[in-house]
Amino acid sequence: MKPAPFSYERPRDLDAALSMLAASGGSAKIIAGGQSLGPMLNLRLVQPELIVDITGLAELKRAEVSGGELVLGALVTHADIEDGRTADVTRGAMRGVAANIAYRAVRNRGTIGGSLSHADPAADWVSALAALGARVTLRSLAGARTLAIEAFVIGALESALHAGEIVEAIHVPARPASAHWGYAKSCRKTGEFAHAIGAVLIDPAAASARVVIGAIDTAPIVVTDAAGLFGGKIATDYKQRFDTRVADALLAKAGIDDAAQRHIHVSVLKRAVEEAAA
């Protein structure tokens, strides 16, 4: 369990990093907190020729509220969010998610950008940020583009990142005062990856809801217009109206054949709905 040989660079600014990525022709990997890439290197599951360590890039460490949304640099750690060192526009929703990611040691080093780039369907941010309606800015030498989280995570360990592109920032919209938040997950033990995640942002006043079923074998199921899960309309009685059969059908459609697995996912989602309503 030792990595295959690789070269290592630690650029001091984003442009230098992007140039290195461009020059590598796709044979480079970016490392930030290294909480997923480290083990993958040691297991030789990835064998990049070059590791670009971005921990020296001050541009990616910023966290600010701008135009009503929160902009988090890719290098913000889970612990930064958990401890309230970053501003918050989600009325505690992100802080609550961050506090339950893996173990504290992982949260100290793991970054929000790294977690999204890795695109593990069982990772918390992949589901939570999709439910919050966040977007992600990707940058390369050619410029920047911005995608919704659900468009960015396209499969298990598969993102929309092109070669030479890096996650620069995450944009989180402010959670309206009328919007209810619920987040639930089931883990075999404390700190393990979840085997079921449910995330909901429900705004009865606006009759809108975003619902995410995560930790499945592919990209999370993101329902941006979730009225169908609540009997066709979203109102203050959404908890009573939550229809487990519709959720079950979504999971079946996503290819989950195992009834017990679907039941756990639906039950977790139900808990998230109940938490939102509480």
Binding site: M1, K2, P3, A4, P5, P39, L43, R44, S186, R188, K189, T190, G191, E192, F193, H195, A196, D258, A259, A260, Q261, H263, I264, S267, V268
Partner: protein, 797 residues
């Protein structure tokens, strides 16, 4: 039940004012170095010129080797079976009739029979470079059908792990006592029960540093091993060397549990390699190697029927047990110890008039199975205790009551059970009664009747077992395996300044032997434990021993230390009498000094006289001096029987399948406890492993024999948040056969938890028609069973 309702049976310190002898709750001496990170493990050893080894391992479970391609530039860095001229395969034969022999080549020849089997050895200045070389070696393998299911492996037409056997059965055993007498019992319950394959997962994996000393003409093998003397014997056989030319050093060892109780092919390979290449070589097991390639444990399957009278009295057990033994028979325990042991220990601590058990040790294309803490007892306890809860349900009794009606009673001690196991002492019903009282069975029943606000279901479960420990010659000679324990030896030597050195052949890898053996010596000689050094883990410095396994060290090495110290004390007493100018008959050794009516002389002064002032010695002094080696066996060597009753309360979420342990009680009787603090530690550690067996640990395989849990993200071990603060209660019924009445207790903590927890889960879910008979109890298994029960209810309605 509140904590303060529990009264601990603290012993008075028997050795008087110093409080260091047998029974003292002494903090562990070794912890000063271990807790400060100053322990020295194999991977800490640095020798000049050391190079690292990485192995090319089979990626397939079962395949014929067509060719091994080594790049030209690495030809002198890569070694295969063709290079190992004269090295014999590992053979661990059992003398039980019908046992089929496997030969495990240290590097594969002809076929590979498990994923991870060693194929080639790669040498480089660092492990990373050695892994680069290993990655450059390509194997041309012809894949064969994998034998991955032990039940299918028994069927005719199965692919064969060892073709010349004609089937896949290492050994079949049959044991019967009048089963026909049970067949008319009014209660008859039949089930299939199984336990998952596990990895033992000590904090420290295996590791080897080998070097050859030309001056001594001696191979030195540093190895993370529990049984260095046995390792040496096995190495000598494989290498064709005299044992005197081999020294095995086992330094600090970070947990063994059985994983470090076998001769490894890697140990043989590195021994050969250092002699071939002329410099020290090292291999350190990494976690992936541990999980997929090394050794596994626990995979049992039972078809079991229990017969009982309508009042719950056991009439008999009929069982067919199968154990997945993996591809090879491991040295020295063999591939059949586990299954054949099932037949002899399945009745547990219960009386019954009829019994039948048929066992199969089955070869598969998996890692060899090794005896893990508790050996077969964890599986046996799981099977039997789950069945007893079903008998209780049939009889309409509390599970505890069924046990109380069938447990061997104190007035029957010593007791020979239906498989001729000799129970030395104990009060099993009392342990069960205490556990039931402590867990508060009535208040739990009341709580259950009210239901839980959060929708979870509460359950309570109990289990009880007996642990045969330190069983010796008469037991193991019957197995006919390469290792039969005899007299355990210890050497005791006073130093010129009055310190004491003890040399023992057992090893300590978490058991605290450096403390407890010093306590035994202190009990007899009165030497301050701070001045007692325990020397272990080195064949050059310790007497021969089969090592640390089978919960034997305290009984055997403790007994040997006591015996050697008594003789040493006697010699000191005679010298002391001379120095006091007393008749030897009129002086006694007490609290570290020889006392007569006119005064006393310290052991320190006596040692000083022997070594430094021989002119003052009596004329008839023992010329052996103040250095004694003695052998010891208990009065009976059929083993001590410690036991414990466990009780667990769980909350089960039927929709998520999550199980939370709310309370856990252990009432344990390990005979006289040399150090209750160390015993508590043993029990807590065992409990954590038992919880792993119950709820988390499982190595699954696919149909091609691939192990699927290749990292600790997939192979789940319980962590601090999964292990509750268990409440312990000690009973202390002395063994009539051992020094001080001690019993072996090292494994018990890991035996009963899977049964207690499973019974608690089933107690919680039985009202909704759910029954789980398989470990581990995962969320998926719980929910699957809940959904099946709901479907049954719907179709019935």
């Amino acid at each position: 039940m509140k904590e303060d309702a529990f009264v601990r049976n603290e012993r008075e310190f028997p050795s008087g004012k110093s409080g260091q002898g047998v029974g003292a709750r002494l903090p562990r001496k070794e912890d000063d170095r271990l807790m400060r990170g100053r322990g020295q493990y194999v991977a800490d050893i640095r020798l000049a010129g050391l190079q690292d080894v990485a192995f090319v391992r089979s990626p397939m479970a079962h395949a014929r080797i067509r060719a091994i391609h080594v790049p030209q530039r690495y030809r002198d860095r890569v070694f295969t079976a063709a290079d190992l001229v004269g090295i014999k395969p590992i053979r661990a034969v059992s003398g039980l009739p019908g046992f089929k022999i496997s030969e495990q080549p240290v590097l594969a020849t002809g076929k590979v029979r498990q994923v991870g089997e060693l194929v080639a050895m790669c040498l480089a200045p660092t492990r990373a470079e050695a892994e680069d070389i290993a990655a450059s070696v390509t194997l041309d393998l012809e894949e064969l059908p994998a034998v991955y299911d032990m039940l299918k492996a028994r069927e005719p037409g199965s692919a064969l792990v060892h073709e010349h056997w004609g089937d896949n059965v290492f050994l079949e055993t049959n044991y019967e006592v009048d089963i026909s007498a049970a067949l008319d019992a009014p209660i008859r319950v039949t089930r299939e029960i199984s336990t998952a394959r596990q990895c033992m997962s000590p904090l420290e994996g295996r590791g080897v540093v080998a070097t050859f000393d030309a001056r001594l003409d001696q191979l030195t093998l540093h190895s993370a091993a529990q049984m260095p003397h046995i390792t040496r014997s096995g190495l000598a056989e494989c290498l064709g060397m005299e044992e005197g030319r081999i020294r095995v050093i086992s330094p600090d060892v970070g947990g063994g549990f059985g994983h470090k109780g076998i001769l490894l092919p890697e140990e043989v390979c590195l021994s050969w390699l250092t002699m071939r290449c002329g410099h020290p070589v090292r291999w350190t097991e990494d976690r992936r190697e541990h999980l997929v390639a090394s050794s596994n444990c626990r995979e049992h399957h039972y078809r079991i029927t229990v017969y009982a009278d309508s009042d719950g009295t056991l009439r008999g057990i009929d069982c067919e047990a199968t154990v997945d033994s993996g591809a090879y028979s491991s040295y020295p325990f063999s591939a059949c110890l586990e299954a054949a042991q099932v037949a002899s220990i399945l009745p547990g601590p219960y009386k019954m008039p009829a019994y039948r058990c048929r066992t199969f040790s089955v070869a598969t294309n998996k890692c060899p199975i090794l005896p893990y803490r508790g050996v077969a007892r964890t599986g046996v306890c799981f099977a039997l205790e789950l069945m007893l809860d079903l008998v209780a349900a049939e009889a309409g009794l509390e599970p505890g009551e069924v046990r109380l009606r069938n447990l061997v009673r104190p007035e029957q001690m010593p007791f020979d059970n239906i498989t001729k196991k000799h129970f030395d002492s104990g009060d099993y019903p009392e342990a069960m009664r205490r556990a039931l009282a402590a867990i508060g069975i009535e208040s739990i029943r009341a709580r259950q009747s009210q239901g839980e606000a959060d929708g979870r279901r509460i359950g309570v479960g109990v289990s009880i077992y007996c642990e045969q420990a330190a069983h010796g010659t008469s037991v193991y000679s019957g197995w006919g395996i390469p290792m039969v324990p005899g007299h355990e030896q210890a050497s005791a030597r006073l130093t010129p300044d009055g310190g004491l050195e003890l040399r023992v052949g057992v090893h300590s890898h978490g058991q605290g032997m450096e403390t407890t053996l010093a306590q035994v010596a202190h009990e007899i000689l009165g030497v301050d434990v701070a001045k007692i050094r325990i020397i272990l883990g080195d064949t050059a410095m310790t007497p021969y021993s089969t090592g640390t396994w089978g919960s034997r060290s305290m009984v055997m090495a403790g007994g040997a230390v006591a015996t050697a110290c008594r003789e040493l004390g006697e010699r000191a007493r005679r010298i002391g009498a001379k120095l006091l100018q007393h008749d030897p008959a009129s002086v006694v050794l007490q609290d570290g000094e020889v006392r007569g009516v006119n005064g006393s002389v310290s052991i320190q002064a006596i040692a000083h006289t022997w070594y430094r002032r021989p002119q003052d010695l009596p004329a008839d002094v023992d010329p052996g001096g103040l250095e004694v080696t003695q052998g010891y066996k208990p009065v009976r060597d059929s083993g001590t029987f410690s036991y414990a009753a466990h009780a667990a309360v769980v909350a089960v979420d039927p929709d998520l399948g999550e199980v939370e342990i709310l309370d856990y009680v252990i009432v344990e009787d390990g005979g006289v406890l040399v150090n209750p603090l160390v015993v508590d530690g043993q029990i807590y550690g065992g409990l954590a492993q038992g919880i792993g067996t119950a709820l988390y640990e499982e190595m699954p395989f696919d149909a091609s024999g691939q192990p699927l849990a290749t990292t600790l993200a997939d192979y789940l071990l319980p962590g601090p948040t999964e292990v509750p603060a268990a409440r312990l209660d000690h009973m202390e019924t002395p063994s009539p056969y051992t020094q001080f009445g001690v019993k072996g207790i090292g494994e018990g903590g890991a035996i009963a938890p899977p049964a207690a927890i499973a019974n608690a889960v089933n107690d919680a879910l039985r009202p909704i028609g759910v029954e789980l008979m398989q470990s581990p109890i995962t969320p998926h298994r719980v929910v699957e069973a809940v959904l099946a029960a709901r479907a049954t209810e719907r179709s019935a309605a």
